[in-house]
């Protein structure tokens, strides 16, 4: 189980659960396609490492590491 901050460009992962993510953030994430079981790919990383652009369910979403830090992911090797 990893957090998004440890992922590199091009890696894929699956959302296991939202961990300690605050409710307000969770509810925003659902609407964008992030739900338990969803697959995501790290497409781009901004200068200085943050924010990251993540592909989920066919959509490219940019997010800050701190917003996503509590989401627990399982990396695909």
């Amino acid at each position: 189980m990893v957090a998004i901050s440890s992922m590199k460009k091009g890696e894929r992962a699956k959302i296991i659960d939202f961990g300690q993510t605050p409710k307000s953030m969770r509810m925003r994430l659902y609407g964008l396609g992030f739900c338990p079981g969803a697959e995501l790919v790290i497409e781009h990383i901004a200068p200085l490492g943050c924010p990251v652009a993540v592909k989920v369910g066919g959509t490219l979403i940019s997010l800050r590491l701190v917003e996503f830090q509590h989401v627990r992911l399982k990396k695909y090797e």
């Binding site: 659960d17 939202f18 409710k23 307000s24 953030m25 969770r26 509810m27 925003r28 994430l29 659902y30 609407g31 964008l32 396609g33 739900c35 338990p36 079981g37 969803a38 497409e43 781009h44 990383i45 901004a46 200068p47 200085l48 943050c50 924010p51 652009a53 592909k55 369910g57 066919g58 959509t59 490219l60 979403i61 940019s62 997010l63 800050r64 917003e67």
Partner: protein, 728 residues
Amino acid sequence: MNNSTLVLVGNPNSGKTTLFNGLTGSDQRIGNWPGVTVEKKQGSFCLANEQIEVIDLPGAYTLNYEQIDSLDERIAANYITDMQEGVLLNVVDASNLERHLYLTIQLLEHNLPMIVVLTMMDKVTSKAIDVDKLSEKLGVPVVAVCAHKAKGLDDLYTAITHRDDISAENSVHIPYPKEIKTAVYDKMRFNKQLSYAQALTEVQQEQQDADIVVADARYGLVREFCKTTLTMPQKNTSSITKLLDKLFLNRFLGLPFFLFIMYLMFFTAINVGGAFQECFDLSSEAIFVNGLASVCLKLHMPDVITAILAYGLGKGLNTVLTFIPVIGAMFLFLSFLEGTGYMARAAFVVDRFMRKIGLPGKAFVPLIVGFGCNVPGVMATRTLESEKDRILTAMMSPFMSCSARLAIFTVFVSVFFPHGGHNIVFALYLIGILVAIITGFFLRGTLLDKSLTPLLMELPAYHMPRANVLLRQTWGRLKHFVKRAGRVIVPVCMCLGALNVLNVTATGVVIGGEGDSVLSYIGKFITPIFEPIGLSHNNWPATVGLLMGTLAKEVVIATLNTLYSGLAGIKPAAIENFQFWPSMVEAFQTIPANLSSLGDALVNPIWASRADQALKPEVAGTISAYFPDLASVFAYLLFVLLYVPCISTMAAIKKELNHFWMYFSLIWTTVIAYMTSAVFYQMATIQQHYMSSILFLMAFAAMFYFMQFVVKKNSVTLIGMSQKGCSA
């Protein structure tokens, strides 16, 4: 039930706006949602002899929100919850079915008549979606269109014509766990007024993890629908988007490219737009100021009337119209950037840096524009999603030293700081930026939320916006500006302009003749207030310059020229020589002249945008006598840098935000300007008067803490006032 209203609801970037434009054509009204500063779009069209109203709700990803920042979601959710009549048009992007259906499921739970409109059909292979199956599963009519190419619209019109046959009852059963269902029905029994959707929302808000379970159930159903209706897996990103993003989002190239785009935007808005500004200025001056004045003269109107009409009202109209080319150019460019989808990338690239000053990445754009002119800078804040960010950026905008101020700086610097003058100017720019950042921190600690707006943002596929859409958008916004800003600018211009031209002579208050203008009298009266910042009381022209500067910074040098050389104001004698058509020709001739000098602007757009002004040589000598020391000059320039930006900027703030923030900006800028220049001057000249300097410094420190105290103590009332948005 009156069903002649269609309500468009869907995700941002779903093609909703394109559909809205396609349905309503040019019959649109743009206003604001009551109480907030979010754009509201309404329109209508005729179908089968019926007038159908269309409302375009703000794009929403979900109807269940928790944060205040999701203003768009809140507006959409509230509207739908309160909806008694009308038909929902749920716009769904066919190439992103799963995510869009998440909202569709929520909409179904509101038990309202609904038609699902699948857009972007050109992006999916023609047989990829079984539209009939989807309609069967959802229990509502589903129509496939390609809004860009106007295909499938006939099917949509047919569906709309038969809207009365649509059942509002939701036939889809979402498999929520038993505990959730029980909790919802309990609530509904307890409160008969509560609808199913409202009860479900409340349960999610009250119970700790209910939302996860609910989202899970919804997505489970959505996935099942997709599996049965999609005959092939959805295509991944278009290759163009992938290619362009390789450049724009590149870890190393992304930032330089962004700076290049900013440079282009500045150039287009300020330099190219500005090339047309002189034409608008001169021609509107010829019509509304000089033309009107000569008409008044011919009709033998009393001078006071002429002053108010021509030099007040006329000047006001002239001021408003002069901004049109620059604002129009900026809006066009920004609409283009946003329409292509690049804006989201820009925000992505710059986010990390902007975060340090408490702003989101997108705020970089309005601030950059502000270096050319504050008016389009403030208006560009409407591209920011969160109201709080808009307020913050608009409050910081006035401190971005605009090109008109640059003209004032260069003039003074050439007289007083012949060597190293560019350092002075650079220092002023930096101070402006610093004060802007401090303003941001002050506001975030007191009247505004301290938290940072989340970035979570979709990066849509690139696409080429259509020219007519861009032009229509720009035109709508320009119209809006002229109407709302004009309402503020014109009255103020009427006062100041008239006062500037009316002279107090032995025979009474007239235009022309000997004697000082009314404004000069006021200036002389007020000047003692400015002693602490270094204006000696015989330096009243400088004060009048500041007063006129509230109208527009461009007129400060002209005013100073006039006053210091002791000449009278605009003379009616000149009016008798005024010729309308030659003036108009002259006005239009400035266009090619300005366009040809654009080549210079390529190298340094900011420098090129400053107005061409200089002090008359005889004035340059006189002025040195009035400013006793260099410190007083710098203090004056500090004041010019920081104090009230022109009335047009104030009007723009009122239009983009509300009354409260306009007055706040007015007071804040003036107080900061005064305190900063006074502190500077007192520190610089401390040797001349230790005692009074120290007293002043203590007084200012006390005032600063007092202001903070007052604001913090009344924060509840002030926040209430600050949130009253402008009504449409």
